[in-house]
Symmetry: C4
Subunit: 204 residues, 4 copies
């Protein structure tokens, strides 16, 4: 089974997640700048989550670009990732509307942590499905970002209960770390594409 | 007419169904764990429905993978299935918010039953459209899951009116039965793909 | 410019329209059958609109299947159609919640009429863009359904203000007339596909 | 990396943005024409934003049609554009519900300005990624529309605070200017397609 429909479905879900978050930006009760300013925490929370979903889409895109075939286990590992990401709009609204209060900010980190674990599981499942010559295994390499992020979340989750702003800073830091897409995959793809036959490119 | 646009539209609808359910997870009125705990029934109901829509997407994916051509009747049988699935967010919210009360839990089962019947109808209509050499007919085989599920729903629907938790357990059981995708289709596809010409693979 | 991205975008919008209508099926304030029964008019209105959007998707699918190339005018004629269809969830909710009251039922017909006109315009614009040898022109033929529907809407719109149920019956009648997809296009496509070269099929 | 998944994701997000705006068209509290008339400002605001998102989709479509390859920077420049466009439903509702009051009408222009800047950045980033022989660079040419629009927004944003209707007229004027898609790109594509080999067309 090829990856095209898995990509299409994931793109659909991620596009909806990233867009319905804005539904929580209810038009403020007033037509002045003060009313708009009142939305600042919800807006900030929205920006952070928009960037996170963007990162996931970006990395998912890169990951599936070097994946050739998927099986039933991969489909479910992918749905598992989408499940945790689907909770992002909920925790985004909860955190924003409560002005980064301790518990919502901590729960936000829990959802990020579980999404990160789900992403890692998906990666391992694809590598297992593809066997020794997996291009993804080569491309992932040491994966220091994937290893560092959960550690940072594990620091932020309890920290949020005491210093929510510290947790917010950690979430922002992780986003910045990830903003640069994995150059190694891009380089590998570029190198391979250079030697691919034109006929093959029609496959995707 | 090939299956690509049918798949694209179905993917779109299923992606939206699976994602808008989360809109019912309104941010709780409070910023503590008690407020979050209050959402547990809605959350549980969401998880169950997420898995069900995931199963339908997964099986739909497998089914259309072995389908070569569709006609107008197939398009409508597919829309009929999507109609019943589109009611899932509604019954999910109703059941969750009423803490698995008898009537909503029973109606949830009715929607699952009608979706299961619609899936079966779609399958038959595709097989009829493809004629004797339908790959889907071979792949479906005895289809014991497809035969067992409606029976279990028919038990759960009246049971819910007296013991809603029993019905909930049955819905969960059916989900677990289906979680394993149909290995036979996968095996068949793998075998056929091995002998397919590369030129043909561009068709999908 | 080929039709693939136009189809993808239209599929996306139609999938969202058909699915967000269900968001108006708010979970009823109660957990018994009476509460569910109270939703009957909204549900009926939803079923009617689901079928209408399904018909539009179906016919749009058929129309673009015999279209080879699109230009800027076609893109805008398509957006114009999507605009009127995007108002369907709004009029569906208004008509349903007011139990098929005269004015909402009449306005529902106005939206259907404008969508029908927009569909006709799109069809003409595609034929004009393709020139004399347009496959669509051949396939459309006499287009009696496309001519009859606006007439029926023009009867129903004023009738709704006095006898809303008559208008509802006319809307249902039009839906039934359209439920059968245009066999002529299907037959033409089947005939042409039979003589197409396999290499060409990769184009879609 | 080819453009197909970038297009698919962007189409998904734009389709959702253009459609969820209609969710702000809540069914009016009444079943007569007066209730409907009350929605006129929200409806007008919706029409304007629908046309704007349509223009962005249309131009995005044209832009990516002449783009061959994308890299990580392009993906993020695209997400940046989608971010500002995702705020359109929010400002549309705010402006409409407040009957084109000064501050919301001004903020609407700010979002349009930032989206225009993001579009320009995306265009430059694609040209930079493609190098000297970028077809997009040729196609864009003098880009007088892209240069004029921000100037008009910069006039409208402060003007809205005093004469909101003047700002509304300017937004409408910009939309009309853009409604005609860039003929130069179309002509270039038509010319190139005429000399392309049929085998190549399967690539998209």
């Amino acid at each position: 089974m090829d990856t095209s429909r898995l990509e299409a479905f994931s793109d659909g879900v991620l596009a909806i997640i990233i867009t319905i978050m804005v539904l929580e930006l209810h038009d403020p009760p007033g037509a002045d700048f003060a009313a708009l300013w009142h939305l600042a925490p919800v807006g900030l929370s929205y920006v952070l989550s928009f960037v996170y979903i963007g990162i996931y889409w970006n990395n998912h895109h890169h990951m599936l670009h070097v994946t050739r075939r998927v099986n039933g286990v991969v489909l479910w590992a992918n749905l598992h990732l989408l499940f945790w990401l689907s909770l992002v709009p909920f925790v985004t609204a909860w955190m924003g509307k409560n002005h980064f209060a301790p518990v919502p900010t901590s729960v936000y980190g829990v959802v990020l942590l579980l999404a990160a674990i789900a992403y890692w599981v998906l990666q391992q499942v694809i590598i297992a499905a593809e066997g020794d010559h997996s291009r993804l295994a080569e491309a992932v390499g040491s994966d220091w970002k994937g290893k560092l992020s959960p550690v940072l979340y594990l620091v932020a989750i309890p920290a949020a209960l005491v210093y929510p702003l510290v947790a917010g800073a950690i979430y922002t830091l992780v986003a910045i770390i990830w903003l640069v897409p994995d150059r190694r995959i891009e380089r590998l793809v570029a190198a391979e594409d250079a030697v691919r036959r034109p006929g093959e490119s029609g496959r995707r």
